[in-house]
Symmetry: C2
Subunit: 331 residues, 2 copies
Protein backbone atom coordinates (compact mmCIF):
# COMPACT_ATOMS: atom_id res chain seq x y z
CA UNK A 1 0.00 0.00 0.00
CA UNK A 2 1.76 3.12 -1.23
CA UNK A 3 1.55 6.29 0.75
CA UNK A 4 -0.31 9.40 -0.28
CA UNK A 5 1.47 11.87 -2.52
CA UNK A 6 2.75 15.00 -0.77
CA UNK A 7 3.04 18.56 -1.92
CA UNK A 8 6.78 18.11 -2.30
CA UNK A 9 6.38 15.25 -4.73
CA UNK A 10 3.88 17.18 -6.77
CA UNK A 11 6.27 20.11 -6.76
CA UNK A 12 9.03 18.00 -8.25
CA UNK A 13 6.70 16.58 -10.86
CA UNK A 14 5.50 20.04 -11.82
CA UNK A 15 8.93 21.60 -11.63
CA UNK A 16 8.02 24.20 -9.03
CA UNK A 17 8.55 24.60 -5.30
CA UNK A 18 6.25 22.97 -2.78
CA UNK A 19 4.92 26.38 -1.77
CA UNK A 20 3.62 26.95 -5.23
CA UNK A 21 1.83 23.64 -5.04
CA UNK A 22 0.23 24.68 -1.80
CA UNK A 23 -0.83 27.98 -3.29
CA UNK A 24 -2.54 26.13 -6.11
CA UNK A 25 -4.71 24.51 -3.46
CA UNK A 26 -5.29 27.65 -1.44
CA UNK A 27 -8.28 29.64 -2.62
CA UNK A 28 -7.37 33.25 -3.17
CA UNK A 29 -3.64 32.67 -3.03
CA UNK A 30 -1.40 34.66 -5.29
CA UNK A 31 -0.34 32.35 -8.08
CA UNK A 32 0.00 32.64 -11.86
CA UNK A 33 -2.64 30.82 -13.81
CA UNK A 34 -0.07 28.94 -15.83
CA UNK A 35 1.64 27.46 -12.79
CA UNK A 36 -1.66 26.63 -11.18
CA UNK A 37 -2.58 24.57 -14.23
CA UNK A 38 0.79 22.89 -14.23
CA UNK A 39 0.43 22.01 -10.58
CA UNK A 40 -3.12 20.78 -10.90
CA UNK A 41 -2.14 18.52 -13.76
CA UNK A 42 0.72 17.05 -11.78
CA UNK A 43 -1.52 16.67 -8.75
CA UNK A 44 -4.06 14.92 -10.89
CA UNK A 45 -1.67 12.29 -12.14
CA UNK A 46 -0.05 11.83 -8.74
CA UNK A 47 -3.45 11.77 -7.15
CA UNK A 48 -2.60 14.42 -4.65
CA UNK A 49 -4.84 16.21 -2.21
CA UNK A 50 -3.72 18.16 0.83
CA UNK A 51 -3.26 16.39 4.14
CA UNK A 52 -5.77 17.98 6.46
CA UNK A 53 -4.03 16.59 9.50
CA UNK A 54 -0.90 18.55 8.77
CA UNK A 55 -2.97 21.57 7.94
CA UNK A 56 -4.79 21.28 11.25
CA UNK A 57 -1.54 21.14 13.12
CA UNK A 58 -0.29 24.26 11.45
CA UNK A 59 -3.51 26.27 11.55
CA UNK A 60 -4.62 25.11 14.94
CA UNK A 61 -8.14 24.30 13.77
CA UNK A 62 -9.30 20.77 13.11
CA UNK A 63 -12.74 21.46 11.73
CA UNK A 64 -13.95 18.66 13.92
CA UNK A 65 -16.55 18.97 16.64
CA UNK A 66 -17.08 16.40 19.36
CA UNK A 67 -20.61 15.45 20.31
CA UNK A 68 -21.09 13.65 23.61
CA UNK A 69 -24.08 11.36 23.88
CA UNK A 70 -24.90 9.09 26.78
CA UNK A 71 -28.45 8.03 26.05
CA UNK A 72 -28.82 5.94 22.95
CA UNK A 73 -32.13 4.50 24.10
CA UNK A 74 -34.01 7.60 23.14
CA UNK A 75 -34.83 7.53 19.42
CA UNK A 76 -35.16 11.28 19.61
CA UNK A 77 -31.37 11.46 19.41
CA UNK A 78 -31.28 10.14 15.88
CA UNK A 79 -33.13 12.87 13.99
CA UNK A 80 -31.30 15.47 16.03
CA UNK A 81 -27.99 13.87 15.15
CA UNK A 82 -29.04 13.91 11.55
CA UNK A 83 -29.73 17.63 11.56
CA UNK A 84 -26.70 18.36 13.64
CA UNK A 85 -24.27 16.49 11.39
CA UNK A 86 -25.84 18.00 8.33
CA UNK A 87 -25.60 21.55 9.59
CA UNK A 88 -22.06 21.08 10.81
CA UNK A 89 -20.99 19.52 7.54
CA UNK A 90 -22.52 22.44 5.70
CA UNK A 91 -20.08 24.59 7.63
CA UNK A 92 -17.18 22.34 6.81
CA UNK A 93 -17.15 20.70 10.23
CA UNK A 94 -17.15 16.99 10.90
CA UNK A 95 -18.82 15.37 13.87
CA UNK A 96 -17.01 13.08 16.25
CA UNK A 97 -19.60 11.04 18.06
CA UNK A 98 -18.45 10.14 21.54
CA UNK A 99 -20.31 7.58 23.57
CA UNK A 100 -20.26 8.53 27.22
CA UNK A 101 -20.68 5.44 29.36
CA UNK A 102 -19.24 3.96 32.46
CA UNK A 103 -16.08 2.87 30.67
CA UNK A 104 -15.62 6.25 29.07
CA UNK A 105 -16.85 9.09 31.23
CA UNK A 106 -17.03 12.83 30.73
CA UNK A 107 -13.60 13.56 32.15
CA UNK A 108 -12.04 10.93 29.96
CA UNK A 109 -13.82 12.26 26.92
CA UNK A 110 -13.04 15.88 27.70
CA UNK A 111 -9.35 15.22 28.09
CA UNK A 112 -9.42 13.35 24.84
CA UNK A 113 -11.25 16.19 23.13
CA UNK A 114 -8.61 18.53 24.44
CA UNK A 115 -5.75 16.44 23.16
CA UNK A 116 -7.33 16.13 19.77
CA UNK A 117 -7.84 19.84 19.49
CA UNK A 118 -11.48 19.70 18.50
CA UNK A 119 -12.93 23.04 17.54
CA UNK A 120 -15.83 22.60 19.94
CA UNK A 121 -17.43 20.12 22.26
CA UNK A 122 -21.17 19.62 22.42
CA UNK A 123 -22.74 17.92 25.41
CA UNK A 124 -25.90 16.66 23.80
CA UNK A 125 -28.32 16.04 26.61
CA UNK A 126 -25.80 14.13 28.68
CA UNK A 127 -26.07 13.70 32.43
CA UNK A 128 -22.99 15.25 33.98
CA UNK A 129 -22.22 16.67 37.35
CA UNK A 130 -21.37 20.31 37.16
CA UNK A 131 -18.08 19.82 38.99
CA UNK A 132 -16.89 17.65 36.13
CA UNK A 133 -16.63 20.59 33.80
CA UNK A 134 -14.67 22.48 36.41
CA UNK A 135 -11.86 19.96 36.28
CA UNK A 136 -8.70 21.98 36.46
CA UNK A 137 -7.13 20.02 33.67
CA UNK A 138 -9.57 21.74 31.38
CA UNK A 139 -9.32 25.46 30.94
CA UNK A 140 -6.54 27.22 29.03
CA UNK A 141 -6.85 26.40 25.39
CA UNK A 142 -9.68 23.99 25.89
CA UNK A 143 -12.20 23.88 23.04
CA UNK A 144 -15.38 25.84 23.68
CA UNK A 145 -18.15 23.73 25.17
CA UNK A 146 -21.87 23.88 24.54
CA UNK A 147 -24.70 22.14 26.30
CA UNK A 148 -27.45 21.15 23.92
CA UNK A 149 -31.00 20.30 24.95
CA UNK A 150 -30.60 20.57 28.67
CA UNK A 151 -30.16 23.33 31.15
CA UNK A 152 -26.83 24.31 32.63
CA UNK A 153 -25.75 27.25 34.70
CA UNK A 154 -22.04 26.73 34.36
CA UNK A 155 -20.33 30.00 33.56
CA UNK A 156 -18.60 29.89 30.23
CA UNK A 157 -20.56 26.89 29.05
CA UNK A 158 -23.59 28.19 27.23
CA UNK A 159 -26.68 26.00 27.16
CA UNK A 160 -29.00 25.95 24.18
CA UNK A 161 -32.29 24.53 25.29
CA UNK A 162 -36.02 24.61 25.11
CA UNK A 163 -37.64 26.85 27.69
CA UNK A 164 -38.86 24.30 30.22
CA UNK A 165 -40.85 26.82 32.19
CA UNK A 166 -42.98 27.91 29.26
CA UNK A 167 -43.26 24.34 28.06
CA UNK A 168 -44.54 23.00 31.34
CA UNK A 169 -46.84 25.95 31.79
CA UNK A 170 -48.42 25.22 28.42
CA UNK A 171 -48.72 21.56 29.23
CA UNK A 172 -50.29 22.11 32.62
CA UNK A 173 -52.69 24.70 31.20
CA UNK A 174 -53.73 22.23 28.58
CA UNK A 175 -54.22 19.40 31.05
CA UNK A 176 -56.08 21.59 33.50
CA UNK A 177 -58.45 22.78 30.79
CA UNK A 178 -59.09 19.19 29.82
CA UNK A 179 -60.29 18.64 33.36
CA UNK A 180 -57.48 16.56 34.82
CA UNK A 181 -56.90 17.16 38.53
CA UNK A 182 -54.77 14.30 39.85
CA UNK A 183 -51.40 14.66 38.16
CA UNK A 184 -48.51 12.26 38.24
CA UNK A 185 -44.99 12.68 36.97
CA UNK A 186 -42.56 10.03 35.87
CA UNK A 187 -38.91 11.07 36.09
CA UNK A 188 -35.95 9.26 34.59
CA UNK A 189 -32.39 8.97 35.81
CA UNK A 190 -31.95 11.22 38.80
CA UNK A 191 -28.90 13.21 37.70
CA UNK A 192 -30.40 14.45 34.49
CA UNK A 193 -33.86 14.95 35.90
CA UNK A 194 -32.91 17.94 37.94
CA UNK A 195 -31.08 19.46 35.00
CA UNK A 196 -34.12 19.18 32.79
CA UNK A 197 -36.21 21.00 35.39
CA UNK A 198 -39.39 19.52 34.03
CA UNK A 199 -40.55 17.94 37.25
CA UNK A 200 -40.00 21.12 39.18
CA UNK A 201 -41.98 23.33 36.81
CA UNK A 202 -44.70 20.74 36.44
CA UNK A 203 -45.34 20.67 40.17
CA UNK A 204 -45.14 24.46 40.36
CA UNK A 205 -47.73 25.10 37.72
CA UNK A 206 -50.15 22.62 39.18
CA UNK A 207 -49.74 24.35 42.50
CA UNK A 208 -50.66 27.64 40.89
CA UNK A 209 -53.79 25.99 39.63
CA UNK A 210 -54.57 25.04 43.19
CA UNK A 211 -53.59 21.41 42.77
CA UNK A 212 -51.17 20.35 45.47
CA UNK A 213 -49.09 17.22 45.44
CA UNK A 214 -47.93 15.66 42.22
CA UNK A 215 -47.50 11.92 42.53
CA UNK A 216 -43.99 10.95 41.58
CA UNK A 217 -43.01 7.80 39.75
CA UNK A 218 -39.37 7.05 39.16
CA UNK A 219 -37.86 5.20 36.24
CA UNK A 220 -34.38 3.77 36.43
CA UNK A 221 -33.32 4.91 33.02
CA UNK A 222 -34.75 6.63 30.00
CA UNK A 223 -36.09 3.66 28.12
CA UNK A 224 -39.42 2.16 27.22
CA UNK A 225 -38.74 -0.81 29.45
CA UNK A 226 -37.89 1.36 32.43
CA UNK A 227 -41.02 3.41 31.81
CA UNK A 228 -43.07 0.26 31.63
CA UNK A 229 -41.57 -1.08 34.81
CA UNK A 230 -42.19 2.13 36.68
CA UNK A 231 -45.81 2.31 35.56
CA UNK A 232 -46.35 -1.33 36.45
CA UNK A 233 -45.04 -0.80 39.95
CA UNK A 234 -47.26 2.20 40.48
CA UNK A 235 -50.40 0.62 39.08
CA UNK A 236 -49.87 -2.54 41.08
CA UNK A 237 -49.51 -0.54 44.25
CA UNK A 238 -52.61 1.57 43.85
CA UNK A 239 -56.30 0.85 43.64
CA UNK A 240 -58.20 2.12 40.59
CA UNK A 241 -60.07 4.71 42.63
CA UNK A 242 -57.02 6.32 44.13
CA UNK A 243 -54.96 6.67 41.01
CA UNK A 244 -53.75 9.73 39.21
CA UNK A 245 -55.75 10.68 36.15
CA UNK A 246 -52.90 12.04 34.07
CA UNK A 247 -49.29 10.94 33.87
CA UNK A 248 -46.69 13.26 32.48
CA UNK A 249 -43.47 11.51 31.60
CA UNK A 250 -40.13 13.18 31.32
CA UNK A 251 -39.81 12.01 27.75
CA UNK A 252 -41.74 10.16 25.09
CA UNK A 253 -39.91 6.90 25.48
CA UNK A 254 -40.95 6.57 29.10
CA UNK A 255 -44.46 7.57 28.09
CA UNK A 256 -44.75 4.88 25.42
CA UNK A 257 -43.60 2.23 27.85
CA UNK A 258 -46.05 3.44 30.48
CA UNK A 259 -48.88 3.58 27.97
CA UNK A 260 -48.32 0.02 26.82
CA UNK A 261 -48.44 -1.26 30.38
CA UNK A 262 -51.53 0.73 31.26
CA UNK A 263 -53.42 -0.50 28.22
CA UNK A 264 -52.23 -4.06 27.83
CA UNK A 265 -51.54 -5.15 31.40
CA UNK A 266 -54.13 -3.17 33.30
CA UNK A 267 -56.76 -2.78 30.63
CA UNK A 268 -56.89 0.96 31.14
CA UNK A 269 -58.22 3.19 28.41
CA UNK A 270 -56.02 6.05 27.37
CA UNK A 271 -57.00 8.79 27.93
CA UNK A 272 -60.31 7.87 29.67
CA UNK A 273 -58.80 5.98 32.59
CA UNK A 274 -55.32 7.42 32.46
CA UNK A 275 -54.10 10.19 30.24
CA UNK A 276 -50.45 10.21 29.23
CA UNK A 277 -48.18 13.02 28.10
CA UNK A 278 -44.61 12.82 26.92
CA UNK A 279 -41.88 15.20 25.85
CA UNK A 280 -39.77 15.41 22.66
CA UNK A 281 -42.45 14.44 20.17
CA UNK A 282 -40.66 11.47 18.69
CA UNK A 283 -41.94 10.11 15.40
CA UNK A 284 -43.31 6.97 16.96
CA UNK A 285 -45.45 8.89 19.39
CA UNK A 286 -47.39 10.20 16.42
CA UNK A 287 -48.14 6.71 15.15
CA UNK A 288 -51.83 5.76 15.17
CA UNK A 289 -51.08 3.08 17.72
CA UNK A 290 -50.09 5.67 20.30
CA UNK A 291 -51.28 9.15 19.43
CA UNK A 292 -49.20 10.50 22.24
CA UNK A 293 -49.67 14.08 23.33
CA UNK A 294 -46.22 15.58 23.54
CA UNK A 295 -44.14 18.71 23.42
CA UNK A 296 -41.79 19.45 20.59
CA UNK A 297 -38.50 21.20 21.14
CA UNK A 298 -37.43 23.54 18.35
CA UNK A 299 -34.44 21.37 17.59
CA UNK A 300 -33.65 22.88 14.22
CA UNK A 301 -33.52 26.38 15.59
CA UNK A 302 -31.53 25.23 18.57
CA UNK A 303 -29.00 23.56 16.32
CA UNK A 304 -28.81 26.54 14.00
CA UNK A 305 -28.15 28.84 16.91
CA UNK A 306 -25.49 26.58 18.33
CA UNK A 307 -23.72 26.05 15.02
CA UNK A 308 -23.70 29.81 14.52
CA UNK A 309 -21.99 30.15 17.88
CA UNK A 310 -19.46 27.48 17.01
CA UNK A 311 -18.57 29.13 13.74
CA UNK A 312 -18.35 32.48 15.48
CA UNK A 313 -21.18 34.04 13.53
CA UNK A 314 -22.95 34.65 16.77
CA UNK A 315 -21.88 35.34 20.33
CA UNK A 316 -21.80 32.27 22.52
CA UNK A 317 -24.40 32.71 25.20
CA UNK A 318 -27.17 30.81 26.84
CA UNK A 319 -30.31 30.56 24.73
CA UNK A 320 -33.71 29.25 25.65
CA UNK A 321 -36.25 28.79 22.90
CA UNK A 322 -39.92 28.24 22.92
CA UNK A 323 -41.24 24.85 21.87
CA UNK A 324 -44.68 23.75 20.79
CA UNK A 325 -47.35 21.61 22.39
CA UNK A 326 -48.48 18.74 20.18
CA UNK A 327 -51.90 17.68 21.40
CA UNK A 328 -53.01 14.20 20.40
CA UNK A 329 -55.57 11.80 21.73
CA UNK A 330 -53.56 10.38 24.64
CA UNK A 331 -54.42 13.39 26.81
Amino acid sequence: MRKRATAKEVAEAAGVSKWTVIRAFTPGASIADASRQKVLRAAETLNYSPNLLARSLATNTTHQVAVFVDDFANPHKLPVLETLTERLQAEGLLTVLININRHFDHVHALINADQRQFDAVILFGTAFREETLGDRRLGRGFPPMFVLARDSQIPGVPAIACDAEIALSEIVDYLFDKGYRRPGFMAGARTLSTALGRRHHYANFWRRKGVEGVTELAAERYSALAGAESARTYLNATSPGSRIDVLMCENDILALGAMDVARREFGLGVPQDLAVVGFDNIELGGAPAYELTSYEQPTDEMINAMVAMITGKRDAEMVVMRGRLVPRSSA
Copy 2:
Protein backbone atom coordinates in the same frame (compact mmCIF):
# COMPACT_ATOMS: atom_id res chain seq x y z
CA MET B 1 -7.28 32.12 26.18
CA ARG B 2 -3.80 30.74 26.68
CA LYS B 3 -2.54 27.96 24.49
CA ARG B 4 -1.87 24.44 25.59
CA ALA B 5 1.48 23.65 27.12
CA THR B 6 3.90 21.83 24.82
CA ALA B 7 6.51 19.21 25.49
CA LYS B 8 9.22 21.82 25.08
CA GLU B 9 7.80 23.98 27.84
CA VAL B 10 7.50 21.03 30.17
CA ALA B 11 11.07 20.11 29.32
CA GLU B 12 12.32 23.53 30.39
CA ALA B 13 10.32 23.40 33.59
CA ALA B 14 11.67 19.95 34.41
CA GLY B 15 15.21 20.72 33.31
CA VAL B 16 15.40 17.99 30.69
CA SER B 17 15.15 17.84 26.92
CA LYS B 18 11.81 17.62 25.15
CA TRP B 19 12.56 14.06 24.10
CA THR B 20 12.72 13.01 27.70
CA VAL B 21 9.33 14.57 28.20
CA ILE B 22 7.97 12.62 25.29
CA ARG B 23 9.44 9.43 26.65
CA ALA B 24 7.71 10.03 29.95
CA PHE B 25 4.45 9.88 28.05
CA THR B 26 5.38 6.93 25.88
CA PRO B 27 4.55 3.62 27.53
CA GLY B 28 7.52 1.29 27.45
CA ALA B 29 10.02 3.97 26.54
CA SER B 30 13.49 3.83 27.99
CA ILE B 31 13.59 6.45 30.73
CA ALA B 32 14.88 6.61 34.29
CA ASP B 33 12.23 6.54 36.95
CA ALA B 34 13.59 9.69 38.55
CA SER B 35 13.31 11.76 35.39
CA ARG B 36 9.90 10.37 34.64
CA GLN B 37 8.71 11.60 38.02
CA LYS B 38 10.30 14.97 37.47
CA VAL B 39 8.62 15.28 34.09
CA LEU B 40 5.23 14.15 35.33
CA ARG B 41 5.33 16.68 38.13
CA ALA B 42 6.21 19.48 35.75
CA ALA B 43 3.51 18.31 33.34
CA GLU B 44 1.02 18.29 36.17
CA THR B 45 1.63 21.88 37.13
CA LEU B 46 1.77 23.07 33.55
CA ASN B 47 -1.27 21.02 32.77
CA TYR B 48 0.36 19.30 29.87
CA SER B 49 -0.91 16.41 27.84
CA PRO B 50 0.39 15.35 24.46
CA ASN B 51 -1.14 16.85 21.35
CA LEU B 52 -2.67 13.92 19.53
CA LEU B 53 -2.88 15.86 16.31
CA ALA B 54 0.86 16.25 16.12
CA ARG B 55 1.28 12.65 17.15
CA SER B 56 -1.05 11.54 14.40
CA LEU B 57 0.91 13.47 11.83
CA ALA B 58 4.13 11.86 12.91
CA THR B 59 2.87 8.33 13.40
CA ASN B 60 0.50 8.29 10.48
CA THR B 61 -2.39 6.90 12.51
CA THR B 62 -5.24 9.07 13.72
CA HIS B 63 -7.13 6.54 15.82
CA GLN B 64 -10.25 7.89 14.21
CA VAL B 65 -12.71 5.87 12.17
CA ALA B 66 -15.27 7.37 9.86
CA VAL B 67 -18.77 5.94 9.85
CA PHE B 68 -20.98 6.82 6.91
CA VAL B 69 -24.71 6.85 7.53
CA ASP B 70 -27.38 7.94 5.10
CA ASP B 71 -30.57 6.72 6.70
CA PHE B 72 -31.38 8.40 9.96
CA ALA B 73 -35.04 7.49 9.73
CA ASN B 74 -34.40 3.95 10.87
CA PRO B 75 -34.21 3.82 14.67
CA HIS B 76 -32.26 0.62 14.27
CA LYS B 77 -29.20 2.75 13.56
CA LEU B 78 -29.10 4.14 17.05
CA PRO B 79 -28.44 1.01 19.11
CA VAL B 80 -25.96 -0.13 16.51
CA LEU B 81 -24.17 3.20 16.70
CA GLU B 82 -24.10 2.82 20.45
CA THR B 83 -22.42 -0.54 20.30
CA LEU B 84 -20.13 0.51 17.51
CA THR B 85 -18.87 3.63 19.26
CA GLU B 86 -18.45 1.74 22.48
CA ARG B 87 -16.44 -1.06 20.91
CA LEU B 88 -14.29 1.34 18.93
CA GLN B 89 -13.64 3.49 21.98
CA ALA B 90 -12.63 0.40 23.91
CA GLU B 91 -9.92 -0.01 21.28
CA GLY B 92 -8.85 3.59 21.57
CA LEU B 93 -10.62 4.64 18.38
CA LEU B 94 -13.01 7.54 18.03
CA THR B 95 -15.93 7.59 15.67
CA VAL B 96 -16.49 10.31 13.12
CA LEU B 97 -20.13 10.23 12.14
CA ILE B 98 -20.59 11.36 8.56
CA ASN B 99 -24.01 12.14 7.25
CA ILE B 100 -24.25 11.12 3.62
CA ASN B 101 -26.93 13.15 1.89
CA ARG B 102 -27.43 14.95 -1.35
CA HIS B 103 -25.26 17.84 -0.25
CA PHE B 104 -22.50 15.56 0.92
CA ASP B 105 -22.25 12.40 -1.11
CA HIS B 106 -20.03 9.35 -0.88
CA VAL B 107 -17.32 10.70 -3.13
CA HIS B 108 -17.18 13.91 -1.16
CA ALA B 109 -17.03 12.02 2.10
CA LEU B 110 -14.45 9.54 0.87
CA ILE B 111 -12.12 12.26 -0.32
CA ASN B 112 -12.54 13.96 3.01
CA ALA B 113 -11.84 10.73 4.87
CA ASP B 114 -8.72 10.32 2.78
CA GLN B 115 -7.48 13.81 3.49
CA ARG B 116 -8.08 13.40 7.17
CA GLN B 117 -6.18 10.16 7.30
CA PHE B 118 -8.82 8.17 9.11
CA ASP B 119 -7.70 4.72 10.12
CA ALA B 120 -10.74 3.13 8.52
CA VAL B 121 -14.02 3.97 6.84
CA ILE B 122 -17.21 2.12 7.60
CA LEU B 123 -20.13 2.30 5.21
CA PHE B 124 -22.92 1.53 7.62
CA GLY B 125 -25.81 0.39 5.53
CA THR B 126 -25.51 3.24 3.07
CA ALA B 127 -26.84 3.10 -0.45
CA PHE B 128 -23.92 3.59 -2.80
CA ARG B 129 -23.26 2.67 -6.36
CA GLU B 130 -20.42 0.24 -6.63
CA GLU B 131 -18.60 2.42 -9.15
CA THR B 132 -18.29 5.10 -6.53
CA LEU B 133 -15.83 3.12 -4.51
CA GLY B 134 -13.80 2.49 -7.63
CA ASP B 135 -13.06 6.17 -8.04
CA ARG B 136 -9.45 6.36 -9.08
CA ARG B 137 -8.76 9.11 -6.62
CA LEU B 138 -9.09 6.50 -3.94
CA GLY B 139 -6.59 3.72 -3.74
CA ARG B 140 -2.95 4.14 -2.72
CA GLY B 141 -2.87 5.03 0.94
CA PHE B 142 -6.61 5.21 1.24
CA PRO B 143 -7.95 4.03 4.57
CA PRO B 144 -9.35 0.52 4.53
CA MET B 145 -13.08 0.43 3.92
CA PHE B 146 -15.69 -1.86 5.37
CA VAL B 147 -19.31 -2.31 4.47
CA LEU B 148 -21.45 -2.99 7.51
CA ALA B 149 -24.92 -4.50 7.40
CA ARG B 150 -25.31 -4.77 3.71
CA ASP B 151 -23.92 -6.91 0.99
CA SER B 152 -21.14 -5.82 -1.31
CA GLN B 153 -19.03 -7.68 -3.80
CA ILE B 154 -16.41 -5.03 -4.29
CA PRO B 155 -12.96 -6.54 -4.19
CA GLY B 156 -10.92 -5.17 -1.36
CA VAL B 157 -13.94 -3.85 0.48
CA PRO B 158 -15.06 -6.55 2.85
CA ALA B 159 -18.71 -6.64 3.80
CA ILE B 160 -19.83 -7.75 7.23
CA ALA B 161 -23.46 -8.68 7.04
CA CYS B 162 -26.23 -10.95 8.07
CA ASP B 163 -26.75 -13.91 5.77
CA ALA B 164 -29.78 -12.80 3.80
CA GLU B 165 -30.26 -16.16 2.15
CA ILE B 166 -30.55 -18.06 5.41
CA ALA B 167 -32.63 -15.29 6.92
CA LEU B 168 -35.17 -15.26 4.15
CA SER B 169 -35.28 -19.01 4.00
CA GLU B 170 -36.15 -19.11 7.70
CA ILE B 171 -38.76 -16.43 7.27
CA VAL B 172 -40.42 -18.09 4.31
CA ASP B 173 -40.39 -21.48 6.04
CA TYR B 174 -42.05 -19.92 9.03
CA LEU B 175 -44.68 -18.15 6.97
CA PHE B 176 -45.38 -21.20 4.86
CA ASP B 177 -45.85 -23.33 7.96
CA LYS B 178 -48.26 -20.78 9.33
CA GLY B 179 -50.35 -21.34 6.23
CA TYR B 180 -49.78 -18.14 4.31
CA ARG B 181 -49.85 -18.57 0.54
CA ARG B 182 -50.25 -15.12 -1.00
CA PRO B 183 -47.05 -13.27 -0.18
CA GLY B 184 -46.29 -9.63 -0.75
CA PHE B 185 -43.03 -7.75 -0.41
CA MET B 186 -42.49 -4.10 0.30
CA ALA B 187 -39.14 -2.75 -0.83
CA GLY B 188 -37.59 0.57 0.08
CA ALA B 189 -35.32 2.82 -1.90
CA ARG B 190 -34.32 1.07 -5.08
CA THR B 191 -30.55 1.39 -4.86
CA LEU B 192 -30.20 -0.23 -1.51
CA SER B 193 -32.89 -2.81 -2.09
CA THR B 194 -30.87 -4.77 -4.55
CA ALA B 195 -27.86 -4.68 -2.27
CA LEU B 196 -29.82 -6.11 0.61
CA GLY B 197 -30.95 -8.99 -1.56
CA ARG B 198 -33.95 -9.59 0.60
CA ARG B 199 -36.54 -9.30 -2.12
CA HIS B 200 -34.67 -11.65 -4.36
CA HIS B 201 -34.31 -14.41 -1.78
CA TYR B 202 -37.86 -13.95 -0.58
CA ALA B 203 -39.26 -14.59 -4.05
CA ASN B 204 -36.88 -17.49 -4.58
CA PHE B 205 -37.86 -19.35 -1.46
CA TRP B 206 -41.57 -18.92 -2.11
CA ARG B 207 -40.98 -20.33 -5.57
CA ARG B 208 -39.34 -23.37 -4.07
CA LYS B 209 -42.45 -23.84 -1.98
CA GLY B 210 -44.43 -23.82 -5.16
CA VAL B 211 -45.76 -20.32 -4.69
CA GLU B 212 -45.18 -18.24 -7.79
CA GLY B 213 -45.45 -14.50 -7.99
CA VAL B 214 -44.75 -12.31 -5.04
CA THR B 215 -46.74 -9.09 -5.13
CA GLU B 216 -44.41 -6.16 -4.96
CA LEU B 217 -45.10 -2.91 -3.17
CA ALA B 218 -42.61 -0.08 -3.39
CA ALA B 219 -41.89 2.54 -0.78
CA GLU B 220 -40.12 5.74 -1.66
CA ARG B 221 -37.82 5.71 1.30
CA TYR B 222 -37.18 3.73 4.43
CA SER B 223 -39.54 5.46 6.80
CA ALA B 224 -42.78 4.74 8.57
CA LEU B 225 -44.57 7.33 6.48
CA ALA B 226 -43.30 5.86 3.22
CA GLY B 227 -44.33 2.40 4.41
CA ALA B 228 -47.76 3.72 5.30
CA GLU B 229 -48.16 5.42 1.95
CA SER B 230 -47.13 2.33 0.05
CA ALA B 231 -49.54 0.11 1.99
CA ARG B 232 -52.33 2.63 1.52
CA THR B 233 -51.84 2.71 -2.22
CA TYR B 234 -51.87 -1.05 -2.44
CA LEU B 235 -54.90 -1.56 -0.22
CA ASN B 236 -56.85 1.12 -2.05
CA ALA B 237 -56.12 -0.51 -5.36
CA THR B 238 -57.16 -4.04 -4.41
CA SER B 239 -60.37 -5.65 -3.28
CA PRO B 240 -60.35 -7.54 0.01
CA GLY B 241 -60.70 -10.91 -1.72
CA SER B 242 -57.75 -10.47 -4.02
CA ARG B 243 -55.21 -9.27 -1.49
CA ILE B 244 -52.05 -10.81 -0.26
CA ASP B 245 -52.28 -12.54 3.10
CA VAL B 246 -48.80 -11.73 4.33
CA LEU B 247 -46.66 -8.69 3.75
CA MET B 248 -42.95 -8.86 4.30
CA CYS B 249 -41.31 -5.46 4.55
CA GLU B 250 -37.68 -4.78 3.90
CA ASN B 251 -37.31 -3.38 7.39
CA ASP B 252 -39.27 -2.85 10.56
CA ILE B 253 -39.91 0.80 10.00
CA LEU B 254 -41.74 0.16 6.77
CA ALA B 255 -43.61 -2.67 8.49
CA LEU B 256 -44.82 -0.49 11.34
CA GLY B 257 -46.09 2.13 8.93
CA ALA B 258 -47.86 -0.50 6.86
CA MET B 259 -49.35 -2.10 9.96
CA ASP B 260 -50.78 1.17 11.20
CA VAL B 261 -52.49 1.82 7.89
CA ALA B 262 -53.87 -1.69 7.61
CA ARG B 263 -55.34 -1.59 11.09
CA ARG B 264 -56.47 2.00 11.45
CA GLU B 265 -57.43 3.00 7.93
CA PHE B 266 -58.68 -0.29 6.54
CA GLY B 267 -59.82 -1.96 9.73
CA LEU B 268 -57.82 -5.06 8.96
CA GLY B 269 -56.86 -7.42 11.74
CA VAL B 270 -53.20 -8.28 12.01
CA PRO B 271 -52.44 -11.11 11.50
CA GLN B 272 -55.93 -12.48 10.64
CA ASP B 273 -56.58 -10.30 7.62
CA LEU B 274 -53.04 -9.36 6.82
CA ALA B 275 -49.93 -10.68 8.47
CA VAL B 276 -46.89 -8.44 8.58
CA VAL B 277 -43.20 -9.23 8.91
CA GLY B 278 -40.31 -6.84 9.25
CA PHE B 279 -36.54 -7.00 9.46
CA ASP B 280 -34.06 -5.67 12.04
CA ASN B 281 -36.10 -6.30 15.16
CA ILE B 282 -36.16 -2.74 16.40
CA GLU B 283 -37.19 -2.17 19.99
CA LEU B 284 -40.47 -0.59 19.05
CA GLY B 285 -41.53 -3.61 17.05
CA GLY B 286 -41.54 -5.56 20.28
CA ALA B 287 -43.92 -3.12 21.94
CA PRO B 288 -47.31 -4.57 22.85
CA ALA B 289 -48.94 -2.18 20.42
CA TYR B 290 -47.24 -3.86 17.49
CA GLU B 291 -45.86 -7.29 18.35
CA LEU B 292 -44.11 -7.35 15.02
CA THR B 293 -42.57 -10.57 13.81
CA SER B 294 -39.09 -9.71 12.69
CA TYR B 295 -35.60 -10.95 12.06
CA GLU B 296 -32.69 -9.92 14.18
CA GLN B 297 -29.24 -9.39 12.77
CA PRO B 298 -26.38 -10.42 15.03
CA THR B 299 -25.20 -6.83 15.24
CA ASP B 300 -22.91 -7.28 18.22
CA GLU B 301 -21.04 -10.12 16.58
CA MET B 302 -20.89 -8.24 13.31
CA ILE B 303 -19.43 -5.23 15.04
CA ASN B 304 -16.96 -7.30 17.00
CA ALA B 305 -15.76 -8.97 13.85
CA MET B 306 -15.40 -5.68 12.04
CA VAL B 307 -13.59 -3.95 14.85
CA ALA B 308 -11.21 -6.88 15.04
CA MET B 309 -10.47 -6.39 11.36
CA ILE B 310 -9.93 -2.69 11.82
CA THR B 311 -7.49 -3.22 14.65
CA GLY B 312 -5.72 -5.88 12.67
CA LYS B 313 -6.54 -8.68 15.08
CA ARG B 314 -8.27 -10.47 12.31
CA ASP B 315 -7.87 -10.66 8.55
CA ALA B 316 -10.13 -8.34 6.65
CA GLU B 317 -12.50 -10.47 4.64
CA MET B 318 -16.14 -10.74 3.85
CA VAL B 319 -18.19 -12.26 6.64
CA VAL B 320 -21.81 -13.32 6.65
CA MET B 321 -23.40 -14.24 9.93
CA ARG B 322 -26.56 -15.99 10.79
CA GLY B 323 -29.33 -14.01 12.41
CA ARG B 324 -32.38 -15.10 14.34
CA LEU B 325 -36.08 -15.13 13.58
CA VAL B 326 -38.15 -13.33 16.21
CA PRO B 327 -41.69 -14.62 15.92
CA ARG B 328 -44.40 -12.44 17.42
CA SER B 329 -48.10 -12.16 16.91
CA SER B 330 -48.08 -10.06 13.74
CA ALA B 331 -47.45 -13.15 11.60
